[in-house]
């Protein structure tokens, strides 16, 4: 078992025991996306020249009072162990493990704007019709898509973004 799976299993068990699984999944997913999207944050958390306490202080500054103690503790532990670079993968693994436990699939949705609850519900229903599975929506705000949505479920990608259409226009013209 690799490091990602080991940490994911441990965090999952703790969240289940504390009956905060979905909350922890969501918080970890957001933190993972933030680390993945921000080069500066990722560099600060993975800089081995910085003392561990300093790196953990960065996490505390960001999450203190904004995330559950479980999520905060898990992230602080991962950063303290020097595995901050694996944080996005660990977060995804926790989300997928929880969804699998609920017999759901995870749909990572990239959009330039947040989705309303109604849109989430309708999208989950549409994706269920497409995949035949109950789908849990995890939204990532990504300005590069410009408009529309990019949905990834496992290896399947449904790209309805303006960026994708622009790329097709570029390919057609080129």
């Amino acid at each position: 078992m690799n490091i990602v799976a080991t940490y994911a299993n441990a965090i999952h068990e703790i969240a289940v025991a504390e009956k905060r699984l979905e909350q922890v999944e969501d918080e970890l997913f957001r933190i993972g996306q933030a680390v993945e999207a921000s080069d500066q944050l990722r560099a600060a958390l993975t800089d081995a020249s910085l003392p561990v306490e300093r790196r953990q202080q960065v996490i505390e500054d960001i999450l203190k009072g904004k995330a559950s103690p479980t999520a905060f503790g898990a992230v602080s532990m991962i950063v303290g162990a020097g595995h901050a670079a694996d944080l996005p993968a660990i977060a995804r693994a926790v989300v997928e493990k929880g969804a699998a436990m609920r017999n759901h699939a995870v749909a990572e949705v990239r959009s330039a704007v947040p989705l309303t609850d109604d849109q989430r519900t309708r999208l989950a229903a549409a994706l269920k019709k497409t995949t035949g599975k109950d789908v849990e929506i995890k939204v990532v705000i990504d300005a590069t898509v410009l408009g529309g949505i990019v949905t990834q479920i496992g290896d399947t990608v449904i790209d309805g973004s303006v960026r994708h259409r622009l790329n097709r226009v570029r390919e057609t013209l080129g």
């Binding site: 959009s111 704007v113 410009l146 309805g160 057609t172 013209l173 080129g174």
Partner: protein, 200 residues
């Protein structure tokens, strides 16, 4: 046998002269009687016996010497004739050799002329082949150049199209960023959801 004919002849003449001298002496002696002290008239017996001896010697000479001399001369003639014949044969051979060499010289000239003609013919063939190859290489080089020019043209056009596409997309993106407010973006999300639901 080795005495030559002229030598024998001289000896015979000398003997005859001596005999005549003796005969004359005898006659004179007879005419003068007993002139025994005469220098010119010797003893008649000596004349007789000398003549007989001479005759015998002459006869023997005629009997044995002359045939031998003739045989020797005949052999010499045959040897000379053989030498002449050999010389003529040698001369004929030399003349034949000369003719052969002359003919060979003529053949050599013909061979030389043939070799020169053959060399010219080969040179012409080689020249024609070289010209043909050069022509082929020129055509191939021209073809390669045309292909390269065509490829460069296509590449330039492709680069131009790519550049135009990039500029178009960049301009479109800039326009869209101004046009895409949250309301429009939310509408696009709704449209996406409808399309995904409709596609299933």
């Amino acid at each position: 046998v080795s005495v030559s004919y002229p030598t024998i002849f001289v000896l015979a003449q000398e003997a005859e002269t001596e005999e005549e001298t003796h005969a004359e002496g005898d006659e004179a002696h007879a005419e003068e009687g007993h002139h025994e002290n005469n220098f010119f008239y010797g003893d008649i017996n000596e004349v007789i016996w000398g003549s007989v001896a001479f005759a015998i010697i002459f006869a023997v000479f005629l009997w044995k010497g002359v045939p031998a001399v003739k045989k020797v001369m005949l052999k010499q003639q045959e040897a000379i004739a053989a030498k002449i014949a050999a010389a003529e044969a040698t001369k004929a051979q030399e003349e034949a050799e000369l003719a052969r060499l002359t003919a060979s010289l003529g053949n050599a000239d013909e061979e030389a002329a043939r070799i020169v003609a053959d060399a010219r013919e080969r040179a012409e063939v080689v020249e024609a082949d070289l010209k043909r190859r050069a022509e082929v290489e020129i055509q191939e080089a021209l073809q390669r150049t045309r292909i390269e020019i065509e490829a460069s043209k296509h590449q330039a056009l492709a680069d131009l199209r790519e550049e135009i596409a990039a500029m178009t997309v960049t301009a479109t993106e800039a326009i869209l960023k101004d046009m895409l407010n949250d309301s429009v973006r939310s509408s696009l999300v709704d449209r996406y959801i409808d399309q995904v639901g409709a596609a299933s």
